[in-house]
Amino acid sequence: MFDRRQQMTSQKPLHLKTFLLILVMVIAGPLGNAFLGKGMKHAGKLVIWPPSDALHTGLRVFGTGSIWLGVASLLTFFLANLLVLTWADYSFVLPASSMGYGVVALLGYFMLGEPVSPLRWLGIAIICLGVFVVGQTSPRSPQRSQRSLESS
């Protein structure tokens, strides 16, 4: 009885925490990719041979502020992903975070001025739907679930 009451009172902050972290994932992941895209467009031609030129290319790429902003955003995404997976189901996090594909297209369009054709929007919507369907399946394969049942 006490456990159930405690669970009921602790459910609301948990929902809020989950929502906030998924929001961080949906924004930070695409934002990181958008910053990487912006930085790489400004880094100029990538020459990787001979090795001395590869070093110069590396210094030029990692001397761009946008690249570091991108890396920081992607690290934020990974951290939020790891944290939310410690209590939320993978099958919930995966489809929820698939909205990031839509956000990256929006950022490409509004932040980087990329042309996004209607066919690409449709493709992105179908990818989100596909990830949603994947997320509805059990995170454990039937064989493994059976084995874990047998061992318990």
Binding site: L36, E114, G123, I124, A125, G135
Partner: protein
């Protein structure tokens, strides 16, 4: 041609890296103690597993391929195409980790493939 090579590297090396890390963590075993010292011991144990280093190297290759692709392609094109890693991940899980994938999951992965094909066609 360069586009195809970079996308293959992003999807195959990125997913291969994750599968190798997953295999390394299975060798290490389930983490039951979450105290900082215990987690540090788990990390040290994982660092002695060859699969972890193979995984990290492949993930780094995938990341640099992503940077290469973003240097001349639009981010709204590159990122949705990387969703193919779900398909590569499922195939890798079947052949490399011996997992079974349900028909519903294959259906979802088919939708992802259709979506990526449309994104490709929308770029022409």
């Amino acid at each position: 041609m360069l586009e195809a090579i970079l996308f293959s590297l992003i999807v195959v090396a990125g997913t291969g890296g994750e599968l190798c890390v997953s295999r390394a963590m299975k060798v290490v075993g389930e983490v039951k103690d979450f105290r900082p010292l215990a987690i540090a011991r788990v990390i040290l144990r994982a660092m002695r597993v060859g699969w972890l280093w193979a995984g990290i190297s492949m993930m780094a290759l995938g990341f640099f391929s992503l940077l290469g692709a973003l240097s001349f392609l639009n981010v709204s094109f590159v990122v949705p195409v990387t969703a193919l890693s779900y398909v590569a991940g499922a195939c890798g899980a079947v052949f490399f980790l011996g997992e079974r994938v349900s028909p519903q999951r294959w259906a979802g992965l088919f939708l992802v493939t259709v979506g990526v094909t449309l994104v490709f066609l929308g770029n022409r």
